[in-house]
Amino acid sequence: MELKDQRHRSRKSVARMEFRRRDYRAEEQGRVLRRSRTDHHPLLPPSPSFHNQVVVEKNGNNDFFDPLRGLNAEDSTSAEEKAANTTTDNNSQVSSKEWTSFKRFLMQKFPVSKMISIASMPDVIIKSSTSFRESSESSHLEEVDDPRRISQEDVKVITGQEYVSRLHELKDEINRAWHAEDRVTALKLTIKVAKLLMDTSVLQFYPTLFVLATDVLDMLGDMVWKRIQQKAEFSEDGTFLCSLPENFKATDICSDAKETCNNWFCKVGSIRELLPRIYLELAIFPCWRFLIDQPLDSLQRLVMMARGVVDPIASAYCRLYMAHCARKLPLSDIAGHLVTCVNDTKILLMRHLSAKEDGHFADKKRLLVGLMEPTIEYIMKCIFENTSQSQRQVDSVLLELGLGRNREDLCGSSPCISFVLHHLLKELPTEVIRSNFVGILHLIECSQDHYFDQCLNYRLLGFRLSESRSKPDIVCSVVDKVIQAVAQYDRLDQYLTVVDAYMDIVLQNQMDNHLKTILEGISKRACHKEIHEDELESLKSILMKLLSHFTDLHDVLALDHFLEILDVMYGNPRSNINMHILSMATRTGYLHDLSTIQLLFEISQSLHDAIDFGSMKDDEYQQPLRLISRFVEMVDYGTEMDRHLTFLVECRGAFGIINELKETLVHSSNCLAIKALKDGRKHLNFVKSCIAFSEVTIPSVLEHVVQFNLYIETAEVALLGGLVSHSDGLVVSAISCLECFDLTDGSRTSIDAGGMLSSIQKLCSLLVMFPGNPDQGITRFPNSILSLIYSKSWMTPRMKIRLFCGIILLLATLSQDKFPYYPYCAEIMGNDMLFFGDASYAHEIAALSECVLQNLISFIEQEPPKAARGTMALEACNCIASSFVVCQDILEVCWKLIETARLCLRADDRYLQSTIKYLNEQLPPPVAV
């Protein structure tokens, strides 16, 4: 009864509503945009003439910003200026920054251990902060001195943290005392801090102690500097005299300021102990500038004075501070004095290291060398900081270091300590390195002490060699010798450390025989042995260099031992290499070679096995998964399509866990099907297998939206293959997949409404080509979509309205005598042919469209009035007006929608105006409205 009623109503409406007739070809020809050639790529940087145009345009219209346009000329120049300004920044600022980072590096390299044993517990450290507020009346500093050292047996222990915090407290106290005008106390406390540096029994803690103590010293030095500067700039009663220029001369300083400055040097000079005296003078060393213009002599004296400090660690760090303080002065030639520092350290160290002692002391010596190394590193850096330009200066530095510029000198002079050599090598200007390879090699060979790994020097030489861009024959001879030398190394880590540095050179110069030797050497040392973490890293670095050198993966795979070496690797580095290989393989194009595919499949498997889904973060395993998917995508068996499909089946088995991959698998099998179809009808069975593969694979995809898309894609492929019933089934599955989809069962709380909408719209457009089955009702699929709209809560109002429009458009198209498009395969007849002139077909379509139209209008009315409602009303209006012949009823509906839109939108809304214009073109508005 109800059905009859509905049909009756629809009949009635058919009389009133009629689909607009369309001639798609004519429309396409009429609307298509005229195409014209262009010589200019829209994304290229603008040419000058174009640029001017833009500027003019900019003046006219300020709010327009073209995101594709290159940087405005003015902006870029100002940016350059800024950069220039920052580079011309004070040199001292750069060095102070460097110093800060160096200090941080020191602290990190030698972390504070829990307990520190100290030979003599300094009273500053023990005493509570209040107890040494001594009377400041006694101005003679001898009283501070209490040099009696407690005997060696009296070792005490303090926690490192306590020591550090005590030093921080002291710093604060000194600062407070200074600002309370009690400068004598400030100085006394600072001297006490400097005295702490005399105790090197703390060993590991010494660098930290040094950093903290020099912080205090630097602070005092700054305060003294500022005080004297103030004396020079202001008179005694506080009136401003002059402002000292950056490069002031000693003659600019008034005698009062000089007097104060001199006093400070006197006070510091009266410290009994050598080391604190040197430290304190260094702290106020920049103040020499107030007295003399070129305090180089003072620097030289301090360098010589430091020779009196015999403890290797104390003297090395003292010289480090010296280098730091010397850099604060605008002196041109400190390098010579710093070279003396290095030489003195060398003499001291040689004496220490050559002393014969047994086991326990060997460890201590290694620790000693470790502690001293950073100081040499920093001083070397300072030496070569300014000498890089002048060849003569470099020569003199080398000469003074006992390394003349010819071979006789190089080996004839005193043997070099290997870590000193290391840092020299690091800082030497490239040209010097370039012209001295033979000598340097000789030096490295000679200097083999047990406290520093020789291989590190070979390694460094490798890096310097590759940056020097030397002549190939020199490079060859150096590499020859180094490879020979390292052949004697038994340990894998040492071998790897060295060859890693030479990989690039060997590869760039096509030294194939060396490459062979290296790979053989690695495999000999690596196989049948457990690989340690650091070795693994070196291996990774070496293999990475190999991989990035070759463009073609086959060349790498063809190398002897490559796969063996790859096989000894494990863990993260292995995965990294695997990923690199995969990305390299898929970068260049499709993969045809069967053995390569097999190898890559295995690599993918190993990569896949290394992924621990439980513990790894999402973004950590995304990359390997993407690479595996990419690999599967790029495999191409050419005409062996059966083999390809088998491969896909294998992949599904092997990488079943990877959700993303299944999508790729379906795409690939669909592609295969299309390829087979293009080849002709003979592969129909194969196409069916592909579609079956896809159909079986799709349900295991996790996300419903993806599933839906894949179903539609496969349905389209099946339709192209003329497999109507397959296609039909797939669409049914697609829709049922949406029916199953509910917000509650999906893990995601929000759905991609836009994506979903366009997928369903796509289905609507696909349905145009579907031959209707009168047994199941011609409007079976539109009806299913409609029931989705009614039943699913996740559909947003906007989605629903658009889908209604989509169905109206679908129905309007189905009512045409000639469809806009047909399946590629001509054997399937469209509905236009099947039901041409069939009145019941037309009726059914019209009836459904009537029903949809009503729903559409009522849905729009349910929407709360806002801008969205207005836009939707306009969309619906356009859809209706373009689908139906404009008669009185339709016009009423349209004007009603326009009214709705008017209420929600501003009157000058362009969409509203163009819709009204469109309607007016169809018919004049009825007088009633």
Binding site: H140, E142, R148, S151, M198, E236, D256, E259, F265, C266, G269, S270, R272, E273, L274, L275, R277, R301, M304, M305, R307, G308, V309, V310, D311, D344, I347, L348, R351
Partner: protein
């Protein structure tokens, strides 16, 4: 009610030469106004030849009080006649010349020196006399006197250096047997004539030493002599120790000697009739030994078994 009185000199370091006017001001801080019978300023410069020291027995002590101080200058001026000083801070400027041109002085204006037995001081005292009922207000301040430029030597003084060498055989005191038998040789040079403005300079090299060196120090000594009737009593005391090597220094590596002379504790060497002030430097080499730990509070000047010492005279001069 409190009244504060202070002397403030024009130079913050308070260094003046005898012929220069000493300028400054008397600063009086008072919460109420004060009537007075005049403000006077006096200067007293003298050489004191005795000092009482507690503890260790000095030779001169037995003659305590026997030697009268030698007056260099003693005069007084009235800065302000009697009157009234208002409440708040009042500053009264003054000028005074130590050595008036043409004025005959009985003594030379020796430079300020603070020693153990001889002390040369110039004290300025301000006095505000206030009648019988009130305690007079006064304040005393020392100024530091340096020789007049006119009397000075032209700089630079030709630096006089002495070359020294120290071996086990140059030592007049007993040494530890291993030091004596093992032998050592330290050479170098050091200033023997030195301007007060310059540091004592020189250099030192340990050429050989069988026993490791533990420290090398430079001692600055003063030698004060006083004429006691017929006798001259001399005492030598340590002013300052400066370490130049800490530990067993590398052989044949030259170390610099650089000692800044402390102000007040040094002055130009003086040979006056009743007293003299001279200086010496000693180079003290300490060898590694267990013995020093047993003698913690020893006088560093005492020759010990583990020390090698070389003492040289040092003449200090004031230059322009």
């Amino acid at each position: 009610m409190s009244t504060k009185i202070a002397l403030k000199f024009s130079r913050s370091n308070r260094i003046y030469r005898p012929s220069e006017p000493v300028e400054g001001k008397i600063v009086i801080e008072s919460s109420s106004s004060i009537s007075h019978y005049g403000i006077s300023l006096s200067v007293n410069g003298s050489v004191n030849l005795q000092q009482v020291r507690g503890g260790s027995a000095g030779v001169i002590e037995s003659f305590y009080g026997a030697v009268k101080p030698i007056t260099i200058v003693n005069k007084s001026i009235e800065v302000k006649p009697s009157g009234k000083i208002g409440s708040g801070t009042t500053e009264v400027p003054f000028t005074m010349v130590l050595k008036q041109n043409g004025e005959k002085s009985s003594e030379r204006f020796y430079e300020t020196f603070h020693g153990t037995d001889v002390s040369i001081q110039y004290l300025f005292t301000v006095d505000i006399a206030r009648g019988y009922l009130y305690k007079s207000l006064s304040a005393t301040m020392e100024v530091i006197v340096e020789s007049d430029k006119a009397d000075l030597l032209e700089r630079p003084v030709s630096p006089e250096m002495a070359i020294f060498y120290i071996t086990q055989d140059t030592q007049r005191h007993p040494l530890l047997p291993e030091i004596k038998s093992g032998g050592f040789r330290v050479t170098g040079r050091i200033s023997t004539l030195c301007s007060l403005l310059d540091p004592i300079s020189g250099e030192l090299t340990v050429e050989t030493s069988a026993v490791p060196v533990s420290s090398i120090d430079i001692h600055l000594l003063r030698v004060e002599s006083i004429l006691m009737g017929e006798k001259i009593v001399t005492e030598t005391s340590l002013i300052q120790t400066t370490q130049i090597a800490d530990g067993d220094v590398c052989r044949n590596l030259t170390l610099p000697i650089y000692v800044i002379l402390p102000r007040l504790l040094t002055c130009p060497s003086v040979f006056a009739g009743p007293f003299s002030i001279e200086f010496k430097v000693s180079i003290v080499i300490s060898f590694q030994s267990e013995l020093p730990k047993l003698h913690k509070k020893s006088d560093p000047r005492t020759p010990r078994l583990w020390l090698a010492v070389e003492t040289l005279p040092l003449e200090l001069v004031r230059t322009r």
